[in-house]
Symmetry: C2
Subunit: 330 residues, 2 copies
């Protein structure tokens, strides 16, 4: 905030509307910690309404830093996303600071305090769950925030970088239908995630395209990890009339289906075709190599970094079906 | 550098010894860019000899940041190491900045420039290859540097965090010998890496403990990745008298051996026992789940972060043999 008389007037208006002193508005604006959460929220909301938001209002001096916020740093999407983010950060000459929220409330508070203090040029939110309260808080800050692979509908009006989840799931399902499969099991992910819903819609659309309807008894849910894939795959294979193919909404669960089949002495793809989603490096090393939908995870990370720096506007990147050896004619 | 008369005298001595002005010594000390590389190296070496090195000489004000330098950000060790580093950084209230060197010389120069300018409290070097020149450069800087899983002998006098590679490889090999295997193939890694040598020595020691000698014709080399494991495993299995078990120096190569066996219609562990090293998450999801040597990768990352911050002195963390389903009696 400069000190032109117009801005002083506006600050006074905000102070009056919030029922606080101009000094308090200034404290909030400057990210000081000695303001109650309630007051801060009210003032931030008013600042936002008055247009003090986003890069134009942000100090012009770069902090030389972008923040990446993961739910958990894991050997899954995170590594690939981070690789793209780091490359784009390097190209722009900024440092990439990595945070994880898996230590809960303290981690979230520490992070918000730092972002509030303005020591970052932008934040990339790459977190699957529990994003709601964080997004609400970030929305009120003057930090450019990008949702990477936004998984909650609450992402709201944030810029976002996403993959073509619907198209990918439709292609995966169509591939199985073209191989003659008619009893296709689905292992869905968390229903509250946008990517899960889009992939589910793609699964339905492919059936619809073929004039077919999926059997609701062949739909199971997992938690996007290996053990839940083993469990859900096992439930499908133990049906009286089991599916001849399974589409799992990510690679970890697909590899879990391999294990469920192996335990039951069934061969992939001889007795069961399996398709995943993501194309993580490990899917090429599975035995047999996994047919899956490739998400351009690195490219998504790089686009998110450029968006956080105001060099891009987010977007949806395409997915590709990668046919390997885990699918065969029925 | 303070301005006591003793320090001024020492600076003058260093300037004289280096054949430069006191102003140039000061520039080098303050990380300014306008000094030639040759001059900088000479002055840094002299500063180091005069004891201007390590945390005692470092500005007492914290930068609130530690740097992690990877060769490449990959979904392998890196994610696990980073998880531990981030947790320890969070606990100490410092940010974790991630860099990768896979863009070559520019990346290295940018990084060194930032470290020289002192905007970090410490650096963790977690890079497999090409560490030599970087270590030489870092050795001359006044940044506390920790080598995480140091892989080059050139790590020299850096503090380091390591895993018990020798003991792990000895336990893995002893496990196969106890199952009755006498023809044990070895897929070694890069010979120039300290971890490879220690694991090789462990392999020999286990044979020696049992009064046996390994067959040199059953020793192959890989590059610590899946494709080289498939290739090296294939070469072993295509021998006139193939091994009945294979110890691969990491999990990726071990999973590659699975694929080499699968292509040849051989079952694991029915016709071939396989042991890996690392215990990456994927080793639990392999079919069958992989017997491997667990490296405490997260704990190693956390210890490296604490060491970089001067809160620990590095060290060697224990490894454990994790027996799963890829090994069976001969």
């Amino acid at each position: 905030m400069g000190d032109t008389s117009g801005e002083r007037t506006r600050m006074a208006e905000i102070a009056q509307a919030a029922g606080v002193s101009v000094a308090t508005v200034s404290k909030v604006w400057n990210g000081r910690a000695d303001v109650s959460d309630r007051t801060r929220e009210r003032v931030e909301e008013l600042l936002r309404l008055h247009g003090y938001r986003g890069r134009r209002a942000w100090p012009t001096e770069s902090a030389g830093t972008i923040d990446v916020i993961f739910q958990e740093i894991d050997c899954a999407w995170e590594g690939e996303h981070l690789r793209g983010i780091e490359a784009a950060g390097h190209e722009a000459g900024v440092r990439v600071v990595v945070s994880s929220l898996d230590r809960g409330e303290t981690a979230r508070r520490q992070l918000l305090q730092r972002l509030r203090a303005g020591r970052t040029d932008g934040a990339i939110l790459a977190t699957l769950t529990a994003a709601g309260p964080l997004v609400t808080a970030l929305n009120r800050l003057n930090v450019p925030v990008v949702a990477l692979d936004p998984t909650c509908r609450t992402a709201g009006d944030l810029l976002s970088v996403d993959a073509a989840n619907f198209a990918g799931a439709r292609a995966a399902t169509a591939h199985l239908l073209e191989l003659g499969h008619r009893r296709i099991g689905l292992i869905a992910g968390f229903d509250e995630l946008m990517c899960s819903r889009a992939r589910f819609d793609g699964f339905l659309a492919a059936h619809d395209d073929a004039g077919l309807a999926p059997d609701p008894r062949l739909i199971e849910h997992g938690e996007f990890d290996f053990p839940s894939g083993v469990a859900a795959g096992g439930r499908l294979l133990d049906r009286d009339v089991p599916p001849t193919a399974v589409f799992a909404m990510n690679d970890f669960m697909a590899i879990g289906v391999y294990e469920a089949a192996r335990i039951r002495g069934m061969s992939v793809p001889g007795q069961l075709s399996v398709v995943g989603f993501d194309d993580l490096p490990g899917s090429r090393w599975a035995a047999p190599p996994l047919t899956t939908v490739r998400q351009p995870l690195r490219e998504m990370g790089a686009l998110a970094a450029r968006t956080a720096l105001g060099l891009a506007e987010g977007g949806v990147l395409g997915t590709d079906l990668v046919v390997r050896e885990s699918t065969a004619p029925v």
